[in-house]
């Protein structure tokens, strides 16, 4: 893991993830006049999930632009402005809403660079909130990063904490390619969500970047590898504590980006632990967990001492009612049980 992280711990300032993201955006806006923000309720409200907190007051309505509820128009406009040399940050409030504007995202934002033979830069950051666990039901709780990672042409960033979020956001803004920046609602540090203190972090005041495609090993261990991202990193770390008490040393890998995917770190870990558990809040089939499993099978099959185990949403929409929702979502207990079973094999 990173040099950067060690340096980071020297500063004492604790920030929530939403504040860290807003700070990263603000610093890039100061540095580069071509950066601006568009989205629903990003202005006075500061973003429903706080990712533009305080920016309207600081930069005004010309650079922090509230939009009509017209996602096709304003996300498409981000592509167009980027092709003219601007660096738009554009927000799709919940990832679940992609349906109304998917053509602009995957046929244009994601493909114009390729179709122009690499001649066209499209430096757009598409921020979006995802994830469930708070009874927001089938149209407001999905993850869907696997769906976007499936489509060539989009970099997919999924931070798990405030420190990573700022560094990854600055990298995203400076990247000349379209980047989708996924923000799990539960890690943002919002006053109205269940608190998750472990998502807050010491965040340096100065701008810094975190490279894409470099996973973070949150905890080293020899017995089982747990690969995950987003809020599930915190659930996996909680599980790892309990597992350690039982004598099972889990290695917890936070992917941080899905595209590019740090296959090397995963494979290296599996070569050491010989057991792999993939934890994914997204749907089980045809997604991230299957992809990681395939890569490990391709590159380290002989090292596996047990079948790969996947914990993910069992291919049902997210139900509203609490007992059913908790049943389908991965959590620390389910991770403990799965890791325990793997370690016994």
């Amino acid at each position: 893991m990173s040099q950067v992280m060690d340096n980071a711990t020297q500063t004492e300032r604790l920030l929530t993830t939403s504040k860290a993201i807003a700070e990263g955006i603000a610093q890039e806006m100061e540095r580069d006049p071509s950066v601006f923000v568009m989205g629903e309720d990003v202005g006075v409200y500061g973003g429903i999930f706080g990712s533009t907190t305080g920016l309207f007051e600081r930069f005004g309505g010309d650079r922090i632009m509230d939009t009509p509820i017209s996602e096709t128009a304003f996300i498409g406009a981000a592509t167009g402005a980027a092709m003219e040399g601007m660096r738009p940050i554009v927000e799709l409030m919940f990832v679940d809403f992609f349906g109304v504007c998917m053509d602009q995202i995957y046929n244009h934002l994601a493909k114009n660079t390729y179709m122009s033979g690499g001649n066209q830069k499209i430096p757009v950051v598409l921020t979006t909130a995802f994830g469930g666990g708070y009874s927001d039901a089938a149209q407001h709780s999905q993850c869907l990063y696997g769906l976007f990672a499936h489509l060539p042409g989009l970099k997919i960033v999924v931070p798990s904490n405030a420190y990573d979020a700022k560094g990854l956001m600055i990298s995203a803004i400076r990247d000349d390619n379209p980047v989708m920046f996924f923000m799990h609602k539960g890690i943002m540090g919002l006053g109205w969500m269940t608190p998750l203190p472990s998502a807050m972090a010491h965040v340096p005041e100065e701008p810094y970047t975190i490279p894409f495609g470099k996973a973070a090993i949150k905890q080293a261990g020899d017995n089982v590898t747990i690969v995950t991202l987003g809020i599930m990193v915190h659930r996996a770390m909680d599980a790892a504590k309990q597992l350690a008490a039982e004598g099972i040393q889990a290695e917890v890998i936070d992917l941080r980006t899905l595209v590019p995917l740090d296959t090397a770190t995963i494979v290296e870990s599996v070569k050491k632990t010989h057991r792999l558990l993939i934890v994914d809040e997204d749907y089980l089939s045809f997604g991230m967990s299957g992809e990681i499993c395939a890569r490990v099978v391709e590159e380290a099959l002989d090292y596996l001492d047990a079948p790969v185990k996947r914990l993910a949403v069992p291919d049902v929409p997210i139900p509203y009612s609490r007992p059913m929702e908790q049943f389908v979502l991965p959590n620390a207990e389910k991770i403990i049980e799965a890791a325990r079973n793997l370690a016994r094999m």
Binding site: P68, I69, V100, P319
Partner: protein, 332 residues
């Protein structure tokens, strides 16, 4: 109001009754929603977790339009759906139970407050902005193909009139002369964004002109004004003369969702709006007309409160679904 006299007392009383039930339900939900979320608010906690969009103040749109509908007619509603569901006659107990996430709810707890579906009453809603309009076109298309005089009504907020599906649906409905009534409730805000900051013209009803259909602007949050305009729109649709668009000026008394800090609007705005409350107004009119007495009005309010109380009690007493029920119902 001269128009009052043209309506029979029974219709007026019935509209008052429905508005009173809606108001009582929404105000009850304000408190129910906070149960278990004090002293520290946590959206995931309490009796009713998740988002909660309430419609207190917006009763006239729902009631004035639905008064012209019967069980053969379809209604599609948006995320803020309780008032439309109640006005369309959806069973209050089953609706409350769904909002509580109970097995006895309309969708066995799968849908929740933004996803209420009642096949008998032909009611549905969605949390995706602009989703209901194409579906209403489909219901209307089916009615037309089947030679019925049934209509479909799609309700949505003023912020939603900027979504592509609004324009596509209006054109489609106009082109195919579908029996749809598009009803926009203008409560001035889409979450924090005021209409003036999101919409290039003042009145969405004017947009009807670009699709060659009638547009009705109802400038008052008044159930009789809505009722009169809707009478014409629904009658046209039933006669096979095609769609109409209505926009009704209305008020949202509460936050966009419960827990909304409402920093985007002046503190005294709602207090002022409440001074011209549409339910009080109809109550006074009924008394002035001699249709009912003061005592009758109190009784109507009590009756509404009782009905809501029963529904909430039913929801509370009902069992939760089994956790593994989550795996059922992906397909029929």
């Amino acid at each position: 109001m001269a128009k009052t006299n043209s309506l029979d007392a029974q219709t007026l009383i019935s509209m008052y009754r429905t508005m009173a039930i809606i108001r009582n339900f929404e105000e009850t939900m304000v408190n129910v929603y906070m149960e278990g979320k004090m002293p520290v608010f946590d959206i995931a906690g309490g009796t009713v977790p998740g988002e909660m969009h309430l419609a207190a103040g917006q009763e006239p749109v729902a009631v004035g339009v639905c008064a012209h509908l019967n069980d053969n007619d379809t209604v599609t509603a948006p995320h803020r759906a309780h008032h439309f569901a109640i006005a369309k006659g959806v069973d209050l107990k089953k609706m409350a139970a769904e909002i509580f996430g109970k097995d006895t709810g309309l969708g066995h707890g799968k849908g929740g407050h933004m996803h209420l579906f009642d096949q008998q009453k032909k009611f549905g809603c969605s949390g995706i902005i602009g989703a209901g309009m194409p579906v209403a076109c489909g219901a209307a298309l089916a009615a037309k193909k089947n030679g019925k005089d049934w209509v479909a009504v799609s309700f949505f907020g003023e912020g939603t009139a900027n979504q592509g599906s609004f324009h596509e649906s209006l054109n489609l409905a106009a082109l195919w002369k579908l029996p749809v009534i598009f009803v926009c409730e203008d409560n001035s805000y889409a979450i924090s964004v005021p209409k003036s900051k999101s919409t290039s013209i003042a009145n969405n009803a004017d947009r009807a002109a670009s699709y060659g259909i009638p547009g009705f602007e109802i400038a008052e949050n008044d159930v009789l004004a809505v009722y009169e305009a809707a009478r014409e729109a629904v009658a046209r649709a039933r006669r096979g003369e095609g769609p109409s668009l209505m926009e009704v000026k209305t008020y949202r008394y509460l936050g966009h969702f419960q827990g909304d800090p409402e920093l985007y609007r002046p503190k005294d705005e709602v207090a002022k709006l409440r001074e011209s409350d549409p339910i009080n107004k109809l109550g006074r009119q009924l008394i002035e007309q001699g249709a009912i007495s003061e005592g009758d009005l109190v009784a109507l309010d009590q009756e509404a409160a009782e009905k809501v109380k029963e529904a909430i009690e039913f929801a509370r007493q009902s069992p939760y679904p089994q956790p593994a029920d989550a795996l059922k119902h992906v397909f029929v």
